[in-house]
């Protein structure tokens, strides 16, 4: 098994936020915490591009390096996880992360920062698999059920791929070869096919 990775295809993402909703629902993420979010460049301008962002499970993760209590670890599948029992909520990982992945729920009065929460690639945490403690702290462990992250599996346009990096790279490569490389890679033609040669409105037909 190679490394588990996410791959976001900006040509396909339609900013539906289905991945965000799937993640929120799957793990019962509290208000104010977004493990995943959709970022749009040039919003409202023709040709805008969206991309779904969360923890990218870096091969050389800066969050792991800067953590003062060393609460991060990497699973054998390359998933970056952390032990919430050790986390002190200092926020160093947030400053180190280039994707803004670490989230901090409000804990107590005056906006006190709680323990860090982030995408687990639906792999739970160091608590026993499928235990109540694991679900409460880290969310559902889909990987231990032989499933892939809910966000990727839920994505309607398959803009977000998740899983074995070799396999999803092959899928993406195949996709890019099929859709071409010019102006046809995005827009109406790609989404709905080429327009009919026939006129849009037939005589006597509904407009």
């Amino acid at each position: 098994m190679a490394r588990m990775k996410f791959l976001a295809d900006a040509e396909r993402c339609i900013e539906c936020n289905g991945c965000v909703t799937a993640c929120k629902q799957e793990h019962e993420i509290p208000w104010g915490v977004n493990r995943r979010r959709v970022v749009t460049m040039n919003d409202g301008v023709p040709g805008e591009k969206s991309i779904s962002v969360d923890c990218m499970h870096c091969s050389d993760a800066p969050c792991m390096a800067v953590c003062p209590v060393d609460c991060f670890y990497k699973s054998n599948e390359g998933v970056v996880l952390h032990d919430k029992d050790l986390c002190i909520g200092c926020g160093y990982c947030f400053y180190a992360c280039p994707f803004g992945a670490p989230q901090f729920p409000q804990d107590g009065a005056f906006g006190l920062r709680g323990k860090m929460d982030k995408c687990t690639f639906c792999a739970g945490g160091p608590e026993p698999d499928h235990s109540a403690a694991e679900y409460k702290k880290y969310g559902r462990n889909r990987l231990a059920e032989g499933k892939l992250p809910a966000c990727a599996e839920m994505c309607a346009t398959k803009a977000l791929l998740g899983g074995d990096s070799d396999v999803i790279s092959d899928i993406y490569r195949d996709r890019v070869l099929k859709r071409g490389k010019g102006s046809e890679v995005w827009g109406w033609g790609t989404a709905y096919g080429k327009p009919d040669a026939k006129p849009a409105s037939q005589p006597g037909g509904k407009s």
């Binding site: 098994m1 050389d60 060393d70 698999d129 032989g146 996709r175």
Partner: protein
């Protein structure tokens, strides 16, 4: 005169090698050692009963089903 020349040469030499003492300013992160609880592999549970191959097969099937070109044509 010789002393002045010597001083100029010494100053020139000092200026010339001044750049050699520059230190790299790129931070090199050092990984710490994980201090938390150990985690088990995803196949070490009641569902897969430590059968890594069964787990890999299940995940691979899910992986490949993300390729809708294959799903549409049935290839």
């Amino acid at each position: 005169m010789n002393r002045l020349l010597l001083a100029v040469v010494a100053a020139g030499f000092a200026l010339g090698v001044a750049g050699c003492g520059e230190q790299a300013e790129v931070t090199v992160y050092k990984q710490g050692k994980y201090q938390g609880k150990p985690d088990k592999d995803p196949w070490d549970n009641d569902q897969f009963k430590s059968d890594k191959n069964a787990w890999e097969k299940s995940v691979k099937a899910r992986n490949l089903s993300q390729n809708e070109y294959v799903r549409i044509t049935g290839n």
